[in-house]
């Protein structure tokens, strides 16, 4: 870990006036630093019962008998819920997929069959956490075990165990993507580089707070209040409402602080349905807090993906012409957000590179493992890892410098905005300049000296680059490429800004932040427009669907707040500023609004600053002292704005169109040193350069860069959800699933470029996910050090040791 980090102030940064662009210390911190945050598990209600799930010990089995009587007989046990009850009380969840995945019958609890170890089978509710867990031991479930399917590559074999009989096999979704003229690219190529198999492993971000909820049922109005850390309530609602046969007004989602999400908290809707049913059945609030092992067993694993039979068409000088490959995606047992991963990757089809001819056959299959769901870098990270692996393998095959191959093929700054072969628009950026900065920060010019010096110490040095993109602000129309019958497109987010009776500026967001500092950055945007201090702006913490400040796509996911969330904040604040001026115009006897300006916490006449109406007066007049105002004055000082990005519905036939609005870029460089005796290796130097357009709060941006870097380092070196042949998870807790600790972190130098997006209200880009650049860079460094082609995204010490053995034995 570094003693210092460096941020280079690039030439491109405009000098910002006002709050935007400043590293304003976060306004969330005061409560969080004093233990005064409110996370879902901090909320208590009178008479609430604690829920514990009885989970499957088998990866694949028929359920032949369920008996809850012994558990229910224990004093203090309030009741249970079984799969049979769930099947009677609810509809299966809506499936995003077209056939055959569309035929899945997915419920809140297992019905008739279990399909992965850890699948919830029965829910038990009791007076205390401990009692609920004890009583779960008394639930009797008889199973008839079936052969388990663990390796996705076997899923389509004739003799493979079938998970979902109704889908008639394990194929969930498949589609062919082809752009340009791939055959001509191969005809033109000097070399065809072939890569038989690449594998991106299964892991996720393991937020420190597990999933959970406190669910109350208001019997009189038939409404549930769900205090939860779900990070995409809009999605949960459209999954839960139809399943529970109720309108969305009956599902009130509330959250304040969330202990990390990283996409992993999008698909808790099955468990939330179980809580809702029990709150109604038992007529008491239901408290569910997932245990760490439950999370590892069952929640939101990242997509495991194979790339087979890859062929790359290249010129002798390293110019990339095109590629074809077959992607095989392991969805696990259920399609909870899938098969959207089957199209989301296409947001970054060519990676950072200029090749124009691409063919990718995408196939997603079911296996007896936990369902996959979005994980930081969702689906694009897998594909970008693939493109980065291709670049380094091509460079190796051609004997070229990976730096030069990248620079030769990067999309150039003067080509921005750049249309990719599949119709996405890369909005801005200068990738070559970013690489130069990253190389300088990591001391690349001394690389060979350092390699020799490490060798003298008996160490093997390796250097690698990860060039990656963080596409943000989805066009949900891309879901139609998965299923043409879906009626989703575009995107939206909501904010309200109002002046209250004493002049308080109150902001409400539709988002569900998990540490991204929305309260701070929103206040910065508002303060700049209203010409006041950030301290005068009160941004409500959290999300409540009663606030009416949300829309269908509201939430915090997929790198979009700086565009959609702040776009909504800007829109609402500008509406409010306009209303304040119209009110002042009336109060000042008809002074034209053009002659008014906001300043110093109020509105005044430009030419006569003494004519000043403070916000307090504005708020008081409209809210409590409005007699005599002109009838035609249409002002509420309570403004709601829905930001809607400029999207078209993509061409489903050609699988063509702009799938995301912004493309933040990251280039990371890693230097490793391996002990050849053991394979143990350390990151000895690391640089991370980020370009996310205009930065509202550089310190918060850098924090996101650091977090994404740490998660990538963990994934590349340590973290994996590994199963045995019977489908038992071998890493079900933080002993076996090693996440990085303070001592694991390398010295880090960060840098930033700012290439404002021409397409967004503030020139910002979403950037929270980070594109997994560290995984790409570490894989490249391992390849450089060992001399062996790296074919897996996960390279623990034992694998690196084996690679060194192969290298020394000349294989």
């Amino acid at each position: 870990m570094s003693e210092t980090t460096t941020t280079i102030a690039p030439e491109k940064v405009e000098v910002q006036k006002g709050w935007g662009g400043q590293s304003v210390p976060r306004r969330e911190d005061k409560r969080l630093l004093q233990g005064e945050g409110v996370f879902f598990d901090d909320v208590k209600r009178h008479g609430m019962g604690y829920l514990h799930f009885v989970r499957s010990p088998y990866a694949h089995a028929h359920i032949t008998r369920v008996d809850v009587s012994a558990a229910e007989a224990i004093p203090g046990v309030y009741g249970t819920l079984t799969g049979e009850e769930v099947a009677a009380l609810t509809e299966p969840f809506f499936q995003i997929s077209s056939a055959p995945g569309a035929h899945l019958k997915d419920y809140a609890l297992a019905v008739g069959k279990v399909r992965y170890v850890g699948e919830p089978v029965v829910a038990v509710v009791a007076e205390t956490r401990e009692l609920a867990r004890d009583a779960s031991e008394l639930v009797e479930v008889d199973y008839e075990p079936l052969p388990a399917l663990v390796d996705a590559r076997r899923s389509l074999d004739d003799d493979a165990p079938v998970l979902h009989e109704e889908a008639d096999g394990n194929l969930m979704w498949t589609g062919l993507y082809a752009w340009g003229d791939v055959d001509s690219a191969f005809a033109e190529a000097d070399r065809v580089v072939k890569i038989p198999e690449l594998h991106f492993h299964r892991f996720n971000s393991t937020p420190l707070e597990c999933d959970g909820a406190l669910v109350e049922f208001n019997r009189g109005v038939g409404q549930w209040t769900i205090t939860t850390n779900n990070q995409f309530p809009g999605f949960a609602a459209i999954m839960m409402g139809p399943a529970m046969r109720v309108g969305l007004d009956k599902l009130r989602f509330v959250t304040q602080d969330i202990g990390g999400g990283f996409g992993n908290k999008i698909t808790s809707h099955p468990q939330l349905v179980a809580c809702c049913l029990l709150a109604r059945k038992l007529n008491r609030p239901i408290q569910w807090t997932e245990w760490r092992t439950d999370f590892h067993l069952s929640m939101s694993h990242g997509n495991e993906r194979w790339f087979h039979d890859t062929e790359v068409a290249v010129k002798a000088d390293g110019t990339l012409l095109g590629f074809r490959t077959k992607a095989l995606d392991d969805a696990g047992a259920w399609l909870r957000y899938e098969p959207l991963g089957g199209v989301i990757w296409a947001q970054v089809t060519p990676g950072m590179y200029r090749w124009r001819h691409i063919e990718l056959e995408f196939t997603q299959v079911a296996t007896n493992k936990a369902p996959v769901s979005p994980n930081r870098g969702y689906s694009r990270m897998q594909h970008l890892w693939f493109t980065e692996r291709v670049i380094d393998i091509v460079a190796r095959e051609l004997g070229l410098d990976p730096v030069e191959v990248r620079k030769r093929n990067y999309v150039r700054a003067d080509e921005m905005p750049y249309e990719t072969p599949n119709g996405c628009i890369y909005d801005s950026g200068d990738y070559a300049a970013m690489l130069d900065m990253a190389l300088e920060l990591v001391g690349h010019d001394r690389l060979e000296e350092r390699r020799a010096e490490a060798k003298e110490r008996g160490k093997v040095l390796g250097f690698g680059i990860g060039s990656t993109l963080d596409s943000g602000t989805n066009n949900f129309g891309q879901s139609r490429m998965i299923n043409p019958e879906l009626q989703f497109s575009g995107n939206n987010e909501v904010a309200t800004v109002k002046l209250d009776i004493f002049g308080e500026i109150v902001v409400t967001l539709g988002t569900t932040p998990q540490g991204q500092g929305h309260e701070t950055t929103a206040a910065q945007v508002v303060a700049d427009i209203l010409r006041c201090s950030v301290d005068d702006v009160h941004v409500r913490a959290g999300h409540d669907s009663y606030w009416n400040s949300h829309a269908g796509f509201s939430g915090t996911y997929a790198s979009q707040f700086a565009v959609t969330g702040l776009g909504a904040v800007k829109g609402a604040t500008e509406m409010l500023a306009g209303e304040i001026k119209r009110l002042a115009s009336a109060v000042f006897g008809g002074v034209p609004v053009e002659q008014l300006e906001l300043a110093d916490g109020g509105v005044r006449i430009k030419e006569n600053p003494d004519a000043f109406l403070p916000f307090m007066a504005c708020g008081a007049i409209i809210n409590a002292n409005n007699a005599g105002l002109p009838e035609e004055l249409d002002v509420t000082l309570n403004c709601r704005y829905v930001y809607r990005p400029p999207f078209q519905v993509p061409d489903v036939e050609r699988k063509y169109g702009n799938l995301t609005l912004t493309y933040a870029a990251q280039i990371h460089c890693a230097v490793i040193e391996i002990d050849p005796e053991t394979g143990y290796y350390e990151l000895v130097d690391y640089s991370a350069v980020d370009d996310c357009g205009r930065r509202i709060n550089p310190q918060i941006v850098e924090g996101q860069v650091m977090g994404a870097t740490a998660q990538a380092i963990g994934a590349a070196m340590h973290e994996i959800y590994e199963y045995d042949e019977e489908g038992n998870l071998l890493t079900p807790n933080f002993y076996d699933y090693h996440v990085p600790h303070a001592l694991d972190m390398p010295p880090l130098a960060t840098g930033a470029l700012e290439s404002p997006s021409p397409f967004t209200p503030l020139g910002t880009k979403g950037m929270g996910e980070g594109g997994g650049a560290g995984i790409h860079a570490i894989c490249a460094a391992v390849q450089d050090a060992t001399g062996q082609v790296v074919t897996d995204s996960h390279n623990p010490y034992q694998r690196v040791w084996r690679m060194l053995q192969e290298e020394s034995s000349g294989r």
Partner: protein, 150 residues
């Protein structure tokens, strides 16, 4: 079992089940919800508190074991809403994002700085080794602790 535990200067007398974990005693019985649960296995340190001067993971200790002890939690750090220099440094250095690990981090760092008011870089890293953060990558936490050290 009847126990009496002093937490942040106040003595609480409660009747608890012998198997009650100290973390659940603090969170559920005393409503001191600042300390968090992140792992159930003693790995993550989100539940770290100081018991009779020693840093303890409160999910690894029974409430009855704290009988007669003085426990310090994150709620006891700031006095009258005035943040300690360590808490201020966390804010200034952006050493927290979601804030879930933060109470445990603060208690570990507080214990470290009591023992080593001017810790070396290595001592800081070792002092934080028992606490997992998934948001920050630790770099800014390290900087904050360093800044708060004398």
């Amino acid at each position: 079992m009847e126990i009496a535990v002093n937490v942040n200067g106040t003595t609480y007398e409660r009747d608890v089940e012998p198997r009650r974990l100290l973390i659940h005693f603090l969170r559920d019985d005393l409503d001191l919800t600042g300390s968090h649960v992140g792992c159930d296995t003693g790995n993550c340190g989100a539940c770290s508190v100081i018991v009779d001067g020693a840093l303890v993971k409160s999910c690894m200790m029974l409430a009855v074991q704290a009988n007669g002890s003085a426990v310090e939690t994150v709620e006891g750090l700031a006095e009258n809403g005035e943040l300690t220099p360590l808490q201020q440094a966390f804010n200034e250095h952006h050493a927290l994002q979601c804030g879930y690990c933060t109470p445990g981090m603060l208690m570990s760092a507080t214990a470290l700085l009591r023992e080593h008011p001017s810790p070396s870089d290595d001592e800081i890293k070792k002092g934080l080794q028992g606490n997992i953060c998934r948001c920050t990558g630790y770099w800014n936490i390290f900087e904050a602790v360093k800044a708060a050290a004398r």
